[in-house]
C-alpha cells in the first residue's frame, strides 16, 4: 500500500518570496507522484507529475518539484510566489506499473501568500 504525508498543514509566505511545500511518501512498489492545486470553490488541477527519468520536473505556473528516491520525498518549490498562488496543494501517489488511476492523497497544505 502507498501513503503520503504532507508535513505542513499551512504555509504562510510573503509575496515574491520562495516557497517549498514538503511531501513524503511510502510504498513497497514503484510509484508515480503528483502535485495538484485546488483554488477556492474549484476542483483539483494537476500542477505537475513525476513518472520516471529526470528527477526535477517542471509544471504550470512556475512550480517545480524534485523526486528524491533515497529520502522518499517529492517537495514542491516556487522561487517567487504571487498572491494568486494562494490555494490548497495536494501531493498524491499512484502505483507505477499496473496502476488503475487510483490516487492516494496527502492531507493537503494551505499556501497563504501575503502582500
Amino acid at each position: 500500500a502507498q501513503s503520503v504525508t504532507q508535513l505542513d498543514s499551512q504555509v504562510p509566505v510573503f509575496e515574491e518570496a520562495p516557497v517549498e511545500l514538503r511531501c513524503n511518501y511510502s510504498s513497497s512498489v514503484s510509484v508515480y507522484l503528483f502535485w495538484y492545486v485546488q483554488y477556492p470553490n474549484q476542483g483539483l488541477q494537476l500542477l505537475l507529475k513525476y513518472l520516471s527519468g529526470s528527477t526535477l520536473v517542471k509544471g504550470i505556473n512556475g512550480f517545480e518539484a524534485e523526486f528524491n528516491k533515497s529520502q522518499t520525498s517529492f517537495h514542491l518549490r516556487k522561487p517567487s510566489v504571487h498572491i494568486s498562488d494562494t490555494a490548497e496543494y495536494f501531493c498524491a501517489v499512484s502505483r507505477g506499473s499496473g496502476n488503475t488511476g487510483k490516487l492516494i492523497f496527502g492531507q493537503g497544505t494551505t499556501l497563504q501568500v501575503k502582500p
Binding site: 476542483g43 494537476l46 507505477g96 496502476n99 488503475t100 488511476g101 487510483k102 490516487l103 492523497f105 496527502g106
Partner: protein, 116 residues
C-alpha cells in the same frame, strides 16, 4: 459541457435521510472516480469505474455508500441514512482511461454535503 460537472453544488440534509450526488464526466471518458474531502481526513478515494468492468469499491467507508454508473457516462453516489460524519466535499474525476501515466484526471468542483 467542457469539464466534469457535479450537482448539486451544495446539499444540506437531515441526519438519517438518503442523498444522491451526481457526476457528469467529460464526454468520451471511460474512467470515473469518486473522492471525499473532509476535515481531518484529507482527500480519500471512494470508488472508481472503468468501462464495463466491475467497479473498485475498496474505498467506500460503509455499506451505506453505493455508486452506479449508467450507460458508461453519468454516475450517482448514494449515501443512505446519512450521518454527521458524512459531511464533506465529494469530488468526481474522469479520464480517458485508467493509466494515469498517459491520462490526466479532470476534477469537478465537488458537492458540499452538510448533514445536520
Amino acid at each position: 459541457g467542457a469539464g466534469v460537472s457535479q450537482s448539486p453544488s451544495n446539499k444540506v440534509t437531515e441526519k438519517g435521510k438518503d442523498v444522491e450526488l451526481r457526476c457528469d464526466p467529460i464526454s468520451g471518458h471511460t474512467a470515473l472516480y469518486w473522492y471525499r474531502q473532509s476535515l481531518g481526513q484529507g482527500l480519500e478515494f471512494l470508488i472508481y469505474f472503468q468501462g464495463n468492468s466491475a467497479p473498485d469499491k475498496s474505498g467506500l467507508p460503509s455499506d451505506r455508500f453505493s455508486a452506479e454508473r449508467t450507460g458508461g457516462s453519468v454516475s450517482t453516489l448514494t449515501i443512505q441514512r446519512t450521518q454527521q460524519e458524512d459531511s464533506a466535499v465529494y469530488l468526481c474525476a474522469s479520464s480517458l482511461a485508467t493509466d494515469i501515466a498517459k491520462n490526466i484526471q479532470y476534477f469537478g468542483a465537488g458537492t458540499r454535503l452538510s448533514v445536520l
